[in-house]
Structures are given as C-alpha cells and as structure tokens.
C-alpha cells in the first residue's frame, strides 16, 4: 500500500502554503494522530504531538527528498514528537499522581518501537480505505469485542449482512496489510531515524 504525496503539494508545504498544509493534514493528519495516540495513550497530548509533528515536518521539509515516500518520513517525525512529549509528561508524572489517568498507560510504559509505530500507521491507513459501514463494523468487532449477533443488534441489520460485510472488510484489510505478514509485495521499510535527523 504505497501512498506517495504529490511532490508539488510537498513543495508548497515547504513554502508554508496554507492549502498545501491542509491537503497534507487531510491526507496524513489522522495517521499522525494515531501514531501519537499509540505512543501517548492520551487524546489531548496526541493532538499536541500531531501539531508539533507537522510543525517539525515543515521545518525539516527543505531536506525532504521528493523521490522518497512522504508518509514514512512523517511517521518517523510523528513518533519523535510524541516521544518528546512522553518524556516531558513522565518528568511531571511523579508529582501529579493524584491526577493521573489510569487509562493513560502510554505515560508509564516504554514507547513503541519504530516498527510498531509503522505497523500502526499502516493499519490506520488501511482502515481509511474501508467504507464507513465497514469501518464501523470492524471497530465494533475488534475494539468493542462484539459478536456478529451483537453487531447486528447494535446496527439493526440482519446477521447475514454483518457476516458478508465483515468478510468484505477483512478481505480488504488482508489485502492492504499483506506486507505486514511478509508477502513478496512488501513495502520498503520506513527510513528509521532519518526523518528526525533532518
């Protein structure tokens, strides 16, 4: 699943063009946010990291090589921005335990590796390719752990429709995420450590 950003848009992004910033945010914003949330486990902090990631990408954009994929480069920057905030919050955590959110496990555990971040990026990108109905179903099934019958009740649709929609969604995901299981048509690995060094 290769998504190559329009080099003209990337060039305009480097110049600070507002429309280009919006275009790249709409293409990659949710992916950056997913990476940040994966690292931080907190929505507000993930939003801050997303903002920082795009700002850092803009600052580093002069050294971005147009022949490379923009997504993996941005994913690397996003992870670094999120880890910086993770470290900042960890420094404050010892003095604010009474306010700590137990669900914010990202603040008290090691951040995910670049491979894990890139897997998350790819899965979120694959989910973007599903129809809204398919995405809703996958969310109910995997994140909420509902059975087909429970999903049918929740969505008020026949179980047979749930099953067929589920099959279509997972067939599409399996195809889009083939590279994560080592198929021959695998994506090149992300340029680990290159983005943040620019």
């Amino acid at each position: 699943m290769r998504v190559v950003a329009d080099p003209v848009v990337v060039s305009r992004f480097a110049a600070g063009d507002e429309d280009a910033v919006r275009a790249l945010y709409r293409e990659y914003g949710r992916l950056v946010f997913a990476v940040a949330y994966k690292v931080l486990g907190d929505r507000g902090l993930a939003e801050e990291a997303t903002q920082q990631a795009f700002l850092q990408a803009w600052r580093a954009s002069a050294s971005f090589e147009p022949s490379k994929e923009f997504g993996p480069w941005l994913a690397t920057i996003a992870r670094r921005a999120a880890i910086d905030i993770h470290r900042r919050e960890a420094r404050h955590a010892h003095s604010a335990l009474d306010d700590a959110d137990p669900a914010a496990s990202g603040l008290i555990s090691l951040p995910p590796s670049m491979d894990q971040v890139y897997d998350a990026w790819q899965v979120r990108q694959a989910l973007n390719e599903l129809s809204p109905d398919e995405a809703d179903l996958v969310k109910l099934q995997h994140m909420e752990g509902l059975t087909h019958s429970q999903i049918a009740d929740r969505l008020n649709i026949p179980v047979g429709t749930v099953k067929s929609r589920s099959f279509r969604a997972h067939r599409r995901l399996a195809g889009l995420l083939g590279h994560l299981r080592g198929d021959d048509h695998a994506l090149p690995q992300p340029p680990i450590g290159t983005g943040g060094q620019r």
């Binding site: 110049a15 910033v21 914003g29 946010f33 929505r43 002069a62 604010a96 306010d99 997972h170």
Partner: protein
C-alpha cells in the same frame, strides 16, 4: 496458510489458522483492537496545525528558500535587520511615550477535548512593565476550592512560562515577562493548589499569537 484462512482468522475465526502460523496476524488483530486506531482528533486540530505553521512561516521565513539560494538568505537577513530597526524604534517610542502605537499580538483560543465548548480571545500589548494580556474567555466552568485555571506562554522548545491564574470565564488581565515573539503559544490549563507549580498538562484552551501592530 491460504488467503481465505488469513481473512477468516483476521475476522475472528480462531480455528482457521494453525496457532503456530497465527502470530503473524496477531499483531494486526491487536492493532485493530487498539483505541489508538479508532480515536478521532478534534476537528479543530487541522486549523491549529495550519495556524501554527503559518505563524512559524511568518516569523522565520520559508525553510526551503533558505537552503536553495543565497538570495533568500540575503533577503531574510535584510528583513531581520529591518525588523530589528523597527523593534528598536518601537522600543524607543514606547520608552519616550511619544504616542507611537504599542506592539500588539492577538490570539484566538480554541477549546481542547477537555473543554470543547470553551473559546477565547487575547490581546498582548507591550508595555515598559512587560506584556499585558487582555483575555476574554467563554465556556469554562468555575473552578474553586483549591482548583483554578492557569495561563501559560510556551516557546517551540516547550518551555512554559506562567502568566497568571483565574477561576472562571469572563474578562481577565494577565501579565507576561516574556515576549510572544519567542513564546508564541498561549495555553490555559486546569490546576490544583497542591504545591506543585508545574503545569498539570490538562489543557483546556490553546492558541497561537499573531502580530497585529
């Protein structure tokens, strides 16, 4: 493992794949169950990103241009020199009280996910004593009994400088000892009077300063 087996296992059929072969798909299934894959950012985040980069572009000049030719460097340097002259002139003007308009910045504040109904508008005015911040906030519920709001200015390195505290929405006056040119992000957090002077990180309002005069 066939494609049909993979699809079935991904869809939740545990018996479709030998456990020894399943590990390669378990990571994907774990991610599909991860809230990080499903959580949505605030719709206003796009505007915040655009505003942040636009502000940085205005204050720093285009990064791309600096690398490619010498001419933009010279122009940038000339611009910086001109800005310095203007800044000195403004400072002299303020110091002598000759009626020169004060340097001002404005900030449009948006509510975060902790306070989506909140918003605000701030004007930062340079004075001899420091930067006077006139803030109007709406949509924030009253905090008291040891809880309060605190406003901060933040620089790109995430250094926070406190600029004042308050209890609820309304017209508020704050003072800052650092300039918005160097600390352009204005944030408001929820705090507790528990002896910890650091930011709680519970941001309710965020905005970026833009020069208006």
């Amino acid at each position: 493992m066939t494609d049909a087996d993979r699809i079935a296992y991904l869809a939740g059929d545990q018996a479709a794949v030998d456990p020894a072969d399943a590990a390669e798909l378990d990571d994907v299934r774990a991610l599909l169950a991860d809230p990080a894959m499903w959580e949505q950012p605030d719709p206003h985040l796009e505007d915040t990103v655009v505003v942040t980069i636009a502000g940085a572009a205005r204050s720093a000049g285009p990064v791309a241009g600096r690398k490619r030719t010498r001419r933009p460097i010279l122009l940038w340097a000339a611009g910086a020199a001109a800005a310095a002259v203007i800044a000195i002139a403004v400072a002299i003007g303020i110091g002598s009280g000759n009626g020169t308009p004060a340097t001002t910045f404005s900030v449009a504040l948006g509510g975060t996910s902790l306070a989506p109904a909140a918003s605000g508008q701030a004007t930062l005015t340079q004075t001899n004593a420091g930067w006077k911040i006139t803030l109007h906030v709406s949509g924030l519920p009253r905090l008291d009994n040891g809880r309060f709001y605190e406003a901060w200015l933040k620089n790109p390195a995430d250094v926070l400088v406190p600029v004042g505290t308050f209890n609820q929405s309304g017209d508020i006056t704050l003072w800052a000892g650092v300039p918005p040119t160097e600390f352009p992000t204005l944030t408001v957090t929820r705090q507790r009077a528990n002896g910890n002077q650091a930011s709680s990180g519970q941001r309710v309002l965020v905005g970026l300063a833009h020069r208006t005069s």
